[in-house]
């Protein structure tokens, strides 16, 4: 955790990560993993029936996929690396040391995927007949397989963050990969991608079939059947995941406060799932029987609901992961479980490099408290913005000046009362300094700039180094 800390007070670091990751999933699942097999199938169907109009339609959809996946899709994927490196360098740095080879292989697959996307789209018109058309369809099949393969690898890493299984004992790569939520999660994402791809491709096709109602009818029926085929699998995979979660929860965390939130989540999930599946089924059945009845905008409703479900589903990750960033090894603030007792005995500041003060004195108490807050709290909390320290405590203690003793007790026991929070990683003097800072923050409501604007923290009083230099 010994890094200069990038920190966006106000909107919060987590929002940056969330925006990039959501956009990426939004493109990756429906437009890459799901849509390439669908378009390839459409191309194959067009060739079988000697249907040039269907082939041309498949090409136009593929072109849209090409533009979106090679720009926003690919770059948000890279963006996850960038934002993780800024927000939690200790977490991503540690995961990289465990999963280097998995990511390396995933990278090779990713390169092949991008090359094949370009070959698939850019040769469509040239490889149009006879054997070359067959080769072209083969490229589509391979591309579909590779997009799915990247998902297979990444889900392993995500699953690992939730529950490291036996990894903490033997630190082996394979035991990290095969954790209990792996297969259900993979099945859920795959089937969701397929269904959502159907809906998005359906939506896109409307733009390319304005003057061709007959073509639209055929194409919509084709996609409806695709959706109808995948929906039961998606439903099954969702229930599988839903059933696998409680066991994983119990194995990983002291449920505590989470119980209630989780139970709400667990029952909400089934309701949302039911509604989404029902809407999709109705749309697809009507689409298959009488495509003209479906207005374009309706198509995106199940898609958005599906994404909402996926988001709801991602919350499980948050439930299970916390208070860790790497399960059973490292807390969300970068403190590892073996570092914790050392910091609690000797002090967090003692071993920190990018702080203004190495120990708490009566003169530097508030500044030292701010340093501690930056190290221990800022990965999840802002001062006064999103998930703000001030809001959290005002909710608990009200707007009157907070009680010093109560805050002190909260800091030392937060991991017991809020089991999703890590234990305070400092000694008694540092807990007192943090309390002093929080009480000061309640009054002043100042903000804490991160390393990207402030640079490495400097003591306000005297800059010793500046004196030495002269």
């Amino acid at each position: 955790m010994d890094f200069p800390l990038f920190f966006m007070d106000e909107i919060g670091n987590r929002l940056l990560m969330a925006v990039i990751a959501i956009v990426h999933v939004l493109i990756n699942h429906p437009l890459a993993v799901g849509a390439y097999p669908l378009v390839t199938l459409l191309e194959w169907w067009g060739r079988r029936n000697n249907d040039a109009a269907i082939d041309n339609l498949a090409y136009r959809v593929a072109f849209v996929l090409f533009v979106v996946t090679t720009t926003v899709g690919a770059l948000t994927g890279v963006g996850i690396w960038f934002s993780a490196g800024l927000i939690a360098p200790f977490g991503i740095g540690s995961l990289l040391r465990v999963f280097f080879w998995a990511w390396f292989i995933e990278w090779l697959v990713f390169i092949s995927e991008v090359v094949l996307i370009m070959v698939y789209v850019l040769t469509w018109k040239r490889w149009a007949d006879g054997l070359m058309k067959k080769v072209h369809i083969g490229v589509g099949v391979l591309l579909s397989a590779l997009s799915w393969a990247t998902m297979v690898i990444i889900v392993a890493v995500l699953g690992f963050m939730m529950g490291s299984g036996t990894w903490t004992q033997n630190q082996s790569f394979l035991s990290a990969v095969f954790n209990p939520l792996y297969l259900p999660q993979l099945a859920f994402r795959t089937a969701f991608a397929m269904v959502a791809a159907g809906l998005v491709v359906w939506f896109l096709m409307f733009f390319f079939t304005k003057q061709a109602p007959e073509l639209r009818r055929r194409a919509v029926r084709f996609v409806s059947i695709w959706i109808l085929g995948w929906t039961p699998l998606w439903l099954g995979a969702s229930l599988w995941y839903w059933n696998a979660v409680p066991a994983a929860m119990q194995a990983n965390v002291n449920v505590g406060l989470l119980t209630q939130a989780f139970q709400n989540w667990h029952s909400d999930f089934v309701v949302i799932l039911g509604v989404v599946v029902a809407i999709i089924l109705v749309t697809a059945v009507v689409g298959a029987l009488n495509p003209r009845l479906i207005p374009r905008a309706v198509l995106l409703v199940p898609c958005v609901l599906g994404l909402f479900l996926l988001g709801h589903f991602e919350r499980v990750r948050e439930f299970i992961r916390k208070p860790h960033v790497v399960a059973d090894y490292m807390y969300s603030n970068g403190v590892t479980m073996t570092e914790l007792p050392v910091f609690q005995r000797d002090g967090l500041l003692t071993y920190a490099t990018y702080v203004r003060h190495k120990s708490v004195t009566s003169a530097n108490k508030i500044e030292a408290g701010e340093d501690i807050s930056m190290l221990a709290c800022s990965r999840c909390h802002t001062t006064t913005g999103v998930n703000a320290l001030v809001d959290r405590f005002e909710k608990l203690y009200g707007t009157e000046p907070w009680d010093e003793a109560a805050l002190g007790a909260f800091v030392s026991s937060m991991h017991m009362s809020r089991t999703y929070m890590p234990p305070f990683p400092g000694n008694t003097a540092e807990a007192e300094a943090l309390v002093a800072y929080l009480r000061d923050l309640q009054q002043k409501r100042g903000s804490a700039p991160g390393a990207q604007t402030l640079g490495i923290p400097r003591a306000a009083a005297v800059d010793n180094n500046a004196n030495v230099n002269q």
């Binding site: 990038f6 090679t70 990278w107 390169i111 570092e339 230099n469």
Partner: protein
Amino acid sequence: MNTLLSLIKTPVPRDLSLPLPLNPDDLAIILVVLFLVHIFFVNLMMGGVILSVIFEIVGKYRKEYDQLAYRISETVTANKSLAVVLGVGPLLCISLLYTMHFYAANALTGYAWISVIPLVIIAFLVTYLHKYTWHKWTGPDKNRHIALGVGAVFVFMGIPMIFLANINLMLFPDKWPEIQGFFSSLEVGNVFPRYFHFLMASLALTGLFLAGWFGRKKYALEKNLPGCNRGSVRRIFYRITFYATIAQLAFGPLVFATLPIGGVTTDLFILISLGVAVALLLLALLRLEIRSGDEHIGRHYAWIGLLFTVLVLVMGTGRHMYRESSLMTHKALIADKTVRFKSVEAATQMRLAAGLGTGDALASGPTGKSLFANCAACHAVDKVLAAPSLREVYGIYKDNPQGIIAWAKEPGKKRPEFTPMPSFAHLGDENLQMVADYILQLGAPAAETESSDTPAKL
């Protein structure tokens, strides 16, 4: 004395504790090779975008250059995507090999660093728009089309500056304390000379690539570039490579001269001189090619390509040698600090395993008093913090300690003025029993004397 002072100032962080997944020397070789492959496509992307727009402008006056410009933009489509995907591998390698340096530089230039993502997205989308409107925005719309291309070039030109600032800043930990935001990082080291060196390299490599791409026998020149002949196309691009390489004879020494001296070693000097010799040989060959007639031009293409590969390998290796030697001391200091911390950590773990506590206090089992620490954030004896006082709790539960346990395991929500109490089921019945007894003892009116002992004192 200066080095000593800068060492005092230099932040020395503690490394992550997990081991690297492979030997650092092997990782370094993988890094250099993967980086060179990545930068090759970055060069072709940058050079392609710049040349395409310049040729399009020339094409307003000479028709065949517009054709050529369009064909160049076609190559950018593939090269720019390869540049991005091939960048991930070296990104992972550099994050592993220089964890403490790379992430530090990223954080210190944070806003600029993360804006690489939207900038590249914009640059790519504008480039697609530029390419796919080429034959639509013609005639009166041509100027608008050119403006679009120029816009894309400007976005593209900004991105390498951010990357250079980062890999430059990571080399100078002694300067980190002075950095306040991206723009101040540009004052460290020699970002600007390296930037121009990079731009020239992009033009040189793209020239060479295009001379081969359009000049190869299988390229349908008559169909794609009507009115051009193979020899003249080859000559155009060879010239670009030639003049860009001449310019490197100025920029190269400038980069070398502005390198902070810390990492310059004799080996590095010899290697760079070797690079310069290869570059001179290259120039001679290029001149020979440019002066040959249409039927002979291109004979030495393979040799030129080979020499360029050697040149790029030499320069890439030199880069890595400089990086290693300038960070050698700092890396050793980090390793030392990490090892020292690990020994403290291991000793603490041993004490804990032996049941000795962490060393500052004797370990003892939980007591009602120690467990009450978990409650004291909200409950005080006769004060309302964020929940009923213990006096009140005593009033309700004085004959029913089991009621406290049941409530603590599954709290309800009775009072609208308070945040609901979290469950403490994870403490277990035995501990909850102890804490319940302690609560009733503290809350009892008879316990006046003990209540002066504030529960928050832990």
